[in-house]
Point group: C2
Chain length 358, copies 2
DNA sequence: CTGTTAGCGCGTTCAG
DNA sequence: CTGAACGCGCTAACAG
């Protein structure tokens, strides 16, 4: 096939062991000029060591696996970059799998990653209801760290998450601080830990303000712009009446919208404006994530920011620690979300001032 | 370490060869009940075959490498999904590398991929000026396909590209059809094949309309929203005069903007509107790519769409064909861009399609 | 139908 | 400081 250390050894008049030593930059055990000679031969023969052979001999693959539910979601690339940045220079490679929100596919991919003997897995689960994936990893003894979403499990599962409950509470409290009382909450898919936590956060805010949590209009979408639009359309009636008739007819049954991600929030803004309902004049909207898009739409979106890059970074670091420590860690870390005030909410008297509108 | 086929063999009272046969679902050579017994033992012992060992024995790694210049660019995930979709089910894994637009890093990553013995590489090059990367792949005999961007090379290089020249011409011709005569062209980074081709396309349109190509105001950015804004600011003067003063003072030195990607186009629109210059009333803007963002900004962006998903798909298919054929293919394929008319251009008298040039 | 025997390319003892 | 020999876990002839 291609050139091996045996070829190098023969050509350089040394043994394979010596070649192996210079290959791995072992300080001890090789004379300076021998080393030079071997290196020269390696270069001349265009030698590329076989990773598979090394993996087999050392029992290490120097790579980790990443499973995400949807690479199209603008949130994903930021986390990926955080992971890449941490891995880089440590000699670790990254195996990418996109489960496309399919739990079966996700399990299959985890199986394949286990076969490839990745040294660890960062898992952003498609669904939280089921802990089969995690069980699978535990049984195979492959170190793992959850990212972004948790899973329902008996055991305590290590992972890196945003404090979704606090974030949701923060977002809704800001809406309440503007006088809103009738909230439409556009949650993400059911069966996700983040959905449950954000809903809890929304209710926290209501309870703290002594408001009735039952008064919240709730819906769940799939994180796309379209689903945000449809949810609002659903509440307001399927038709798209002209602005005039709406204003004349009746006000919308809510005065604020809180969405579980920015894309749905943007969909909501679009649906609202299409009907001539002013945002933020009549209805205020707050999103979640703070993707680039959020600052570019009109009006720019007020949102609860997640530290996506840092999440990826921390997950990679935690995984590396787990691998080094030879044992699965037990804790999860919670990163702080941050409210970013922009143009889909009205200026507050005492709160942080939004930047000037263009 | 973990359980191997030797363990299975002993436990099931057969030889390793037999275990290997059932593992690979070889039809011939194993009795039905033996097969069942072996499978049962594998399940019971939670056997996970070692990919490294198999790779070493077969000389195949069942995975390919992907090197992209910037995973944050919304265009990238779409291509990645196209690749993933094609690989899926074929048992191929995907190694992801982000060169972050750094040529040295890119070369290093290609070297690592070669070591890992990926069966092929899809390369979206950071720079086109240099063909070192391709030479490296050629020497190592690893099959490859270029994606999105080409490289300057003596040899003919296989790849999948949008017809950038035709796309740029299409975009500019549409602008000219609306009466524009003074164009600002916001190109991508210098040294990229796509930049050169798009510039040529822009000039094609001008020449076909018997306009002076020297009259085109040109600038080059880095594909970010910010660089689009800065380029426009640069042409109009650094300050950000109030709308009124601008309108009163002098018209901008151009009546149309063509940008090499959507994000810069959006930056341009923002810079223009910040100065009170109406888009599309006073200045029309056309972008390139058609990312999701394009349809969500206000006004929605008219743009030249690239078939990102299909590009990824085709690249993966071509690579797989190359791998199967045991030899590097020679041709590049050019996919057709498509004009998507939205709100940053004024309605045309004769419909949304660009009229025949004259 | 099944077992035996060699490797795949590299790391790693242990002698010398 | 260097080399010979074995093993990592699996596949692939070749026997039986």
């Amino acid at each position: 096939m291609s050139v091996t250390i045996a070829d190098i050894a023969k050509e350089a008049q040394v043994s394979k062991a010596t070649v192996s030593r210079v290959l791995n930059d072992r300080a001890e055990g090789v004379g300076a000029e021998t080393r030079l000679r071997v290196k020269e031969v390696m270069r001349r023969l265009d030698f590329t060591p076989s990773g598979a052979a090394r993996d087999l001999a050392t029992g290490r693959s120097r790579c980790i696996g990443l499973v995400i539910p949807d690479i199209i979601d603008p949130f994903a690339p930021l986390m990926i970059r955080g992971i890449e940045a941490t891995l880089r220079g440590l000699g670790y490679g990254l195996f990418l799998c996109d489960s496309e929100n399919d739990l079966e596919r996700e399990k299959e991919q985890l199986r394949l990653l286990a076969e490839r003997r990745v040294e660890g897995v960062i898992l952003n689960p498609a669904l939280s209801g089921d802990a089969d994936q995690v069980e699978l990893l535990e049984r195979r003894l492959v170190p793992y760290v959850l990212l972004d979403r948790g899973v329902e499990s008996d055991r305590s599962v290590p992972g890196v998450y945003t404090d979704n409950r606090a974030g949701a509470r923060m977002g809704v409290e800001y809406l309440l601080s503007g006088g809103a009382r009738r909230l439409a909450f556009l949650n993400g898919p059911e069966g996700l830990s983040v959905s449950r936590l954000r809903e809890a956060g929304v209710e926290d805010a209501f309870r703290a303000a002594k408001l009735d949590v039952m008064s919240i209009t709730r819906g769940s979408g799939d994180y796309t712009v379209g689903s945000g639009e449809r949810l609002i359309d659903g509440v307001l009636g399927e038709g798209a009446p002209s602005p005039a008739s709406w204003v004349a007819a009746s006000p919308p049954p809510f005065d604020a919208v809180f969405a579980a991600n920015d894309r749905m929030a943007i969909g909501a803004v679009r649906a609202l404006r299409r009907r001539g309902i002013d945002v933020p004049g009549t209805v205020e909207v707050v999103g979640f994530d703070d993707i680039e898009l959020a600052s570019l739409v009109e009006p720019p979106l007020t949102t609860v920011a997640q530290p996506a890059f840092e999440m990826g970074q921390q997950a990679a670091r935690m995984l590396l620690r787990t691998i080094a420590g030879k044992r699965q860690l037990e804790n999860g870390v919670l990163l702080d979300p941050k409210l970013v005030v922009r143009g889909t909410t009205r200026p507050r008297a005492n709160g942080p001032a939004p930047p000037p509108r263009q």
